[in-house]
């Protein structure tokens, strides 16, 4: 590869041809501020915050998109550059509500940080200035995320993620010029369109223009209600991420601290979604074996990611029979919390308030689905994202650093390494294989680390010898990658037995409710933490979880048995992309 030598702020820098000035400067230890730029995903040069002076150029150049040239002389910090950036920021703020104190993104907002860094002290355009959006434009129709166009800086990072990563484009630029807003077609509410509710847009939004819907007040109210038994479950992926909210490194495992924090917040029982992840493996593994041996619809596809479920319901309603009928682990545990647990503990189920802590905004939507009340009540009352839990901890003055490590409560708190890895892409597949192999062959698996399905590659495939059978599996994360596999299935070209799909990049560790920032490096660190947690656990296969054996013996009977069927399985609703599909049966199960 040819290289180019240029001068940036009086330093000679040698970089590969085609590098942007932004990257070249980074190599030289110079951080050029950015707002709209997102490596590999959004390089559109729109915000003009990253401008630099290039000798001989007619105007300032946007460093995020301008390629380096031989002999180029760049100044990233001249008077002109600083003034221009400041003016651009001043303009943005002139069309922005200055509500930091009451904003969800207060202290974690890129716009705020820029404003601080640039030393902006006054916005000269506010008196009598027009605004492009008003409070009427706020869209809080969806249970998962809220859009506040007043705070939007039109960086289009959300649009890029939704389009290029998820392949949905539920939102995009509409209107022109000063009137431009990011919104769904026809200015519809998000709840009325084909949005997967994945919340990836809320992860990349630099401001408070797209956020998770904050449900913490509901939980505070429940905690304050003496008549309520407030039960909480925590997802596999929250434990390797929440510590970031308290200044620790991504990937730090803080299972015990999280449990301790929840106890201090006043939750009565703290269960682990990992338990139901193990349960999922038993149910889903059995379902797969049944489909393979009895000629059911193949490939079978995992169903634990509600963003993914909503997507396939919209876009591929014809393929719903490929989905496993298993509920997501959250909803399995939710049903047990309002059915099995109260029976066991002698509590009236109507007094139970069921909360889950999830890396996920789509799970807020899932909890509200009509199907999710098999206990006779709404199985999960409120879903909080990792970010919201951290917010509650800060509100309650919990000092994360000094928290002790505590354990989950019985009987739904016991889990295995197989459950922990649900949080990372490929994890469900690996966990399922660990169990299926041994259930089918009745032999111990030689190496339970299924490395071909780990990592950030978009689609991973593997063929495994299980007894006499060559089992072909595939793993996809992000909806964009899922679509590729679905198209293969539609064309009849997919010869897989089992496919894992996770909606979010990297799986739930990169979920839409995780701490911000969540970028590639952060995802990789959380994945590393996930596999480390797996290694550290004494039991690493779901079928070896004694609590699982126990619940089947004492309550559920057997996987796919009658009670399992009622509590742990579900069916799906064909939705269509823009209108309800006609003549399609409800997918999935006979229920």
């Amino acid at each position: 590869m040819a290289t180019v030598t240029l001068t940036i702020d009086n330093q000679k820098v040698e970089v590969e041809q085609g590098t942007t000035i932004l990257e070249a400067a980074k190599n030289a230890g110079i951080e050029i501020p950015t707002l709209c730029y997102m490596k590999d995903i959004n390089a559109i040069g729109a915000c003009r915050i990253c401008v630099v002076e290039v000798e001989g150029a007619r105007a300032l150049q946007a460093a995020c998109v301008a390629p380096v040239g031989e002999g180029m002389v760049v100044k990233t910090n001249s008077e002109l550059v600083r003034k221009s950036r400041k003016m651009t920021l001043e303009l943005i703020l002139s069309d922005h509500p200055q509500e930091c104190l009451t904003c969800l993104r207060n202290t974690n907002c890129e716009l705020q940080a820029l404003s601080e860094a640039f030393g902006l002290r006054e916005v000269r355009f506010t008196r009598g200035a027009a605004k492009s959006a008003t409070a009427d434009d706020i869209d809080d129709s969806a249970p998962s995320i809220v859009r506040d166009p007043r705070k939007c800086v039109l960086c289009r990072r959300c649009v890029a993620v939704c389009e290029k990563v998820q392949g949905v484009k539920a939102i995009g630029p509409i209107n022109r010029g000063f009137e431009t807003v990011i919104a769904p077609a026809f200015d519809q509410n998000l709840i009325d369109v084909n949005c997967a509710m994945c919340g990836q847009c809320s992860l990349v939004c630099p401001t408070g223009a797209i956020t998770e819907k904050d449900d913490t007040e509901k939980v505070w109210a429940a905690l304050n209600d003496a008549n309520k038994e407030v039960v909480v479950q925590t997802a596999p992926a929250t434990r390797v991420a929440i510590a970031e909210e308290f200044g620790q490194d991504p990937g730090t495992i803080s299972t015990g601290k999280m449990v301790a924090a929840l106890r201090r917040l006043g939750f009565n029982k703290i269960f682990d979604t990992d338990f139901s992840a193990d349960l999922t493996i038993m149910e889903e593994g059995t379902e797969l074996i049944q489909r393979v041996t009895q000629g059911g619809t193949l490939p079978m596809i995992t169903s634990c990611s509600p963003g993914w479920i909503k997507y396939i319901e919209h876009y591929y309603p014809d393929l719903l029979p490929h989905l496993s009928t298993c509920k997501s682990p959250q909803q399995m545990l939710g049903a047990l919390i309002k059915d099995y647990y109260p029976k066991n503990a002698g509590i009236a189920p109507e007094n139970i308030y069921s909360v889950s802590i999830m890396p996920c905004t789509a799970k807020k939507f899932e909890a509200q689905r009509d199907e999710m009340n098999d206990s006779g009540y709404q199985d999960v009352d409120v879903v909080l994202t990792t970010r919201e839990l951290a917010r509650m901890c800060r509100n309650a003055g919990i000092d994360w650093d000094t928290l002790p490590e505590e354990n989950y409560d019985d009987p739904l708190g016991m889990s295995t390494g197989a459950a922990v890895i649900f949080g990372a892409t490929g994890g469900v597949m690996e966990a399922a294989v660990r169990t299926a192999y041994e259930l089918i062959t009745k032999e111990e698996m030689p190496d339970i680390n299924l490395t071909p399905v780990r990592g950030m590659e978009g689609i991973k495939e593997a063929t495994l010898k299980v007894g006499d059978l060559d089992v072909k599996v595939a793993v996809a994360h992000t909806l964009g990658n899922a679509r590729k596999l679905l198209d293969l299935i539609r064309e009849g070209k997919a010869d897989h037995h089992f496919i894992e799909v996770m909606c979010c990049p990297g799986g739930c560790i990169g979920g839409g409710g995780q701490p911000i920032p969540t970028n590639l490096d952060v995802r990789l660190a959380r994945i590393a933490g996930t596999y480390q947690a797996d290694e550290e656990l004494p039991i690493r296969k779901s079928h070896e979880n004694p609590a699982i054996t126990d619940i089947y013996e004492k309550y559920l009977g057997q996987p796919l048995g009658e009670l399992s069927h009622k509590l742990l399985h579900t069916h799906y609703v064909p939705r269509g992309v823009y209108r309800k599909p006609e003549g399609l049966p409800d997918g999935g199960s006979e229920h």
């Binding site: 559109i44 040069g45 998109v65 003016m87 303009l91 200035a129 039109l154 010029g177 000063f178």
Partner: protein, 572 residues
Amino acid sequence: MSITYQDLEEIRSKAKEKLAARLGKDPADEFKYHVLVCGGTGCHSSGCQAVADTMEKALNDEGLANSTKLIQTGCMGACQLGPVVMVYPGAYHYCNVQPEDIADIVNDHLKNDKFVERLCYRNGKGELQATMPEMDFFKKQHKIALRNCGLVDPVSLDEYVGMDGFAALSKALKEMKPQQVIDEVKNSGLRGRGGAGFPTGVKWQFMADQEADQKYVICNGDEGDPGAFMDNAVLTGDPYSVIEAMTLCGYATGASKGYAYIRLEYPLAIQNFKKALEVCREKGLLGEKILDSDFSFDIEIREGAGAFVCGEETALMASTEGKRGEPRPRPPFPAVSGLFGKPSNINNVETWANICPIVLKGADWYSGIGVGKSKGTKVFALAGMIANSGLVEVPMGTKLRDVVEEIGGGIPDGKKFKAAQTGGPSGGCIPAEHFDTSLDYENLASLGSIVGSGGLIITDEDTCMVDLAKFYLGFTQDESCGKCTPCRIGTKRMLEILNRISKGLGRDGDIELLEELAYMIKQSALCGLGQTSPNPILSTLKYYRDEYEAHIKDKTCPAGVCKIRGAKKATS
């Protein structure tokens, strides 16, 4: 059926005979008179259709249909005088012709060989100027780009060929290597007429140097500058010249497909261009193996959908791809990655209109016209407070004064020239003290304005420069695509400040704030629209700062245009 070089030459020699009357020679066929009714947009708007219909009927009724040829042409130039009817031989130029005037033309001129004096043009001094060559408006003009406009039937291939149409293409295909064609264009010194003035041959070379399985040639017919209409005139009045030039470029640069992006507001242009495309395809002047050579090329029309920013080349390509017309950063330049990600060469309509004569007559001929680094001619759309508005093609380097006073006939009603706004919303104004300036790229730039697309708006003492700046800014603000911050929000804020100034609500420091904002937007906006949007403000501030101050400090509009509540009577 594809015609050959041989066929083309036969068509040409026959057509030349038929055109003789219009070319100052004796008629060589049965038609004694050629009556040309202008069908350009301006005349169309002032009712030329009824004039043409009446004329046709009269010719039939009077039995003159066999000896008088009636055609409808594109714009003849002096749109203000429309509907225009010309009678050849002699190029008699009848102005403001109404259907009821036809009888006189038929009886006096066509039957009795006596021209109708009362329909002829008289200049400001009352002197009769009956024929086109006599008229002040045309005397100083030098028509290259507009050579056929108003002279031929726009959709008749024969007439175009008779005017040496397709001679350049056939010369190139027969005798010239692609590189020779590029060199000819390079050496001519032709610069893009779409606004930026980039050397056309150099641009062609970039594209020719790219290796690719597919390349595109694009004609930018979006003509968005409100006040410029030369591209409309060429597309409507001489569509074949653009088709031939694009085909030449395809040959020179290795492209096999062209797109002509024409703005929706030009239905006549679209109609004529479409018709011309059909004829070319039918005759094998487009399509496979053009003129029996090995070269194949075809052109597709794309209609704009109402967005000024689509004139910007990257936005135009996005729009052609069916997307929102939002510009993108360059590099990559279109020559490397353009339409559908393929190397593309985009030129303005007027640029295209200059190509064939250059290839045919040679670079030296072309570069002999003009001054300095501004070669050839430029078409200006002369409008505003001027006696004769219309299209004016003059050699680069012509003096502004000559255009205004001689060609344009001066300012009407004895008013005084105040300023000329050139280059539309991206341009600036030239004040009276520079009335003798030469109209060329370098010189206008040095005055803080631009040649741009050639809009030339004349203002008189009754024009308020704050109001004019506000007008242009209102336009750009309205047309901003909204992608980048400085333009999306910055133009809005500039307009808000101008609005309050013009209402007499300006604040101390507003001028400085405007200047700072204008300067920063110029530096930081993504595309030319934003980068040039402050120009009208900066240039009016440069020459008419006192007018701004009068609005702010004295709460008066010196020109009496801005409605200021409770304003003192203007003192000037």
